[in-house]
């Protein structure tokens, strides 16, 4: 089929109403960027799931980062979009304005030269992310061990997808299929979601991040839903294999083990996180027990939005008290957040 044929199929679709969730924040951003919702028939609805790593990080984690950044001889190192996420009283960026030590990097590996140059300072990386980002932290730790560096720590809030998706399904989210995250599957393999598809009788389409890739995967999901084909199909074969990247998988198992994790707005989901194994606890900056999730603004509906129960525009704060310039909840902070995307792309 040509792209035009796929587009016109999706535009003219007139079967039973279908609701799909794109789990990954990069998908949310790409769907907005390519104007894909504009192409879809009214009968096909896409909702954003909890796959933006900074969006699902609870406030206690941000508060702990800020406390660390204010400690003497300690510097917090982070990706840029973490800076503005509101904690219970302030964001890292606001704390930085008051003298807290925060450095922004593009890769966790950028922390190594900093830490080598200033052995007197302890560098704490804000290690958030999913299965995609976790392997990079293992490379950082391997290097720290090899170089016998004593001043590197991680504050982890790593999360894994299957338990969160299962939680959504058991909480009664009304969904007809998932656009499965291509980056995650590149690491884990597409078989990662087999069990969920079978147990909950729901289709998964693994998608890439380009316009044609997304359209193709959505088309695939529609066909699978129509035909009751409740399996995992890989529409991103150029990058994703069935078994995934086994080297990255092994490294993750070496350094991390599953743990309970709190998702902003969703609460505690058993077994949905990753934390450092006992033998690597010397690298941990106190990640355990950061479970409190306090809203900055009581009206914030990030939780419902992350679960696909509410559209961003229906949140009472959306576009009023909560804008990208003054975010009240995490969904408005990140480029991958669904509120941010709704606000900026109309």
């Amino acid at each position: 089929m040509t792209v035009e044929e796929i587009s016109s199929y999706l535009r003219e679709y007139n079967g039973r109403p279908l609701t799909f969730m794109e789990v990954c924040g990069s998908h949310t951003a790409a769907i907005a960027k390519f104007g894909i919702k504009e192409i879809l028939s009214d009968k096909i609805r896409l909702i954003s799931g909890p796959g933006c790593p900074v969006c699902v990080t609870p406030s206690a984690y941000i508060d702990r980062l800020i406390a660390l950044a204010k400690e003497p001889d300690t510097c917090v190192v982070t990706f840029g979009d973490m800076l503005r996420v509101p904690g219970s009283t302030q964001s890292l960026s606001e704390a930085k304005g008051e003298g807290a030590k925060v450095a922004m990097v593009y890769s966790p590996m950028d922390m190594l030269p900093l830490a080598k140059e200033h052995p007197e300072i302890t560098y704490v990386f804000a290690a958030v992310g999913f299965e995609t980002t976790a392997p990079v932290y293992t490379l950082l730790l391997e290097e720290a061990i090899r170089e016998e560096m004593k001043n590197i720590r991680l504050l982890t809030a790593l999360k894994t997808m299957p338990k969160a998706i299962e939680w959504l399904l058991t909480e009664g989210a009304k969904l007809d299929g998932f656009l499965a995250p291509g980056h995650v599957c590149a690491v884990t393999g597409s078989s990662y979601f087999d069990e969920l598809a079978a147990r909950y009788q729901i289709p998964f389409a693994v998608s890439g991040f380009g316009d044609v890739e997304l359209l193709t995967a959505i088309y695939g999901l529609v066909r699978m839903a129509e035909q009751g084909e409740n399996t995992v199909k890989n529409f991103y074969p150029s990058v994703v294999e069935r078994q995934g990247n086994t080297i990255a998988g092994e490294k993750m198992k070496t350094f991390f083990e599953p743990c309970d994790a709190v998702w902003r707005g969703m609460g505690m989901i058993p077994g949905s996180g990753l934390c450092l194994r006992e033998e690597y606890k010397q690298f941990d900056a106190g990640s355990a027990g950061l479970i409190v999730d306090k809203k900055r603004n009581l009206g914030c509906c990030c939780g419902k939005i992350l679960m696909g129960r509410m559209e961003p525009k229906d949140c009472p704060l959306f576009g009023k008290a909560c804008t990208p310039g003054n975010p009240q909840g995490a969904c408005m902070v990140s480029y991958e957040g669904s509120c941010y995307q709704h606000f900026t792309n109309g």
């Binding site: 792209v3 990069s26 192409i39 606000f343 900026t344």
Partner: protein
């Protein structure tokens, strides 16, 4: 003299040496050589004035340096009102420890760019402050607006055609590559746009708006223009010129070429019947070979469309473009 020291800002002998050896040599001209407290120059009619400060890191980058950048930025701002750029002043703030050899290179690049852009540096100032070897430059530009020329941000009219003078995002991508130590052949596009603007005006193209596409990128600039005219702007993604290497670079880092800065590109909004001619002229002018027609200005069909900027995507979707929120930060997964 290898490094700038505090005494270079003292006003005494060291300051004299610095000025004589670096600035006078590079910028030498009749007005500046008088060494008066202020420059007295010829001029008449409507005067365009602009000022800008340059604080770029690194000071030298692929395709340019802060010296070329400050002249281009200033000259282009004058050109965007249809003015003929004539005079420039520059204020240097040098941090203690600045490398004198590098300063020389920057100043000579500035002088060469000023010659290219047809402006004379008529006044200057140097201050030395404590610090870490940084160099900052403030420039003010003066130009003269010819009789009958009226180009302004709010000048768009329904039916107008939107052109852009070349590839988007080159400067931003070059600077980021340099900062992140990524090796590629992306070059900054910093350039003075005299040639293309002169051609458009001399050939009497009905130009309504000119804007250089700097910080914030094309989307930010077009959004501003849409809002200031109260009209609806529509552009097509497939028409957007982006160098393949910049496109890949953006893809890798999760950046959007629509929001990446340039230093030698402009948007021109012209009357529909002149659009073809304007495109040819820009393409034949210096730095305009990749110019393209991007879209059109339309009267809003309803109130909610007023000031909207809409991108028709490659696959037939529509995306509403807004001004950027925060800094363009790479995605993390």
């Amino acid at each position: 003299m290898e490094r700038i020291r505090m005494e270079h800002g003292s006003g005494g002998r060291a300051t004299g040496e610095l000025i004589a050896e670096i600035f006078e040599q590079a910028f030498s001209n009749e007005v500046l050589s008088q060494m008066e407290d202020s420059a007295v120059v010829e001029g008449s009619g409507r005067i365009a004035i602009t000022t800008d400060s340059f604080v770029v890191t690194p000071l030298e980058f692929p395709g340019g340096d802060i010296g070329r950048l400050c002249i281009c930025g200033t000259v282009n701002d004058l050109l965007m009102r249809g003015a003929v750029p004539k005079y420039v002043t520059c204020g240097f703030i040098l941090e203690e420890g600045a490398d004198v050899a590098q300063l020389k290179r920057i100043v000579s690049s500035m002088a060469a760019t000023a010659r290219e852009a047809g402006v004379t540096v008529v006044a200057g100032d140097t201050k030395v402050v404590e610090g870490n070897g940084g160099i900052f430059i403030n420039t003010t530009g003066v130009g003269f607006v010819p009789e009958g020329v009226d180009i302004k941000a709010s000048g768009s009219r329904p039916g107008d055609v939107i052109l852009v003078s070349g590839n988007m995002g080159d400067h931003h991508a070059a600077i980021l590559s340099s900062r992140m130590e990524i090796t590629n052949s992306i070059q900054s596009d910093n350039a003075p746009l005299n040639d293309m603007v002169t051609k458009l005006l001399e050939q009497k193209v009905e130009v309504h708006v000119l804007r250089d596409v700097t910080r914030g990128g094309l989307a930010t600039v077009l959004k501003e223009l849409a809002v200031s005219s109260g009209l609806k702007f529509e552009i097509e993604e497939t028409k957007l010129p982006v160098h393949p290497q910049v496109r890949d670079f953006c893809g890798l880092l999760g950046l959007d070429p629509l929001y990446m800065g340039n230093e030698g590109k402009m948007v021109a909004i012209v009357a529909k019947e002149d659009a073809g001619r304007a495109l040819e002229m820009i393409r034949s002018a210096a730095y305009g070979e990749n110019a393209a027609i991007l879209g059109t200005v339309e009267a809003p069909a309803e109130e909610s469309e007023r000031g909207k900027l809409i991108l028709k995507t490659r696959i037939g979707g529509r995306r509403i473009l807004d001004e950027p929120q925060g800094e363009g930060l790479p995605r993390i997964c």
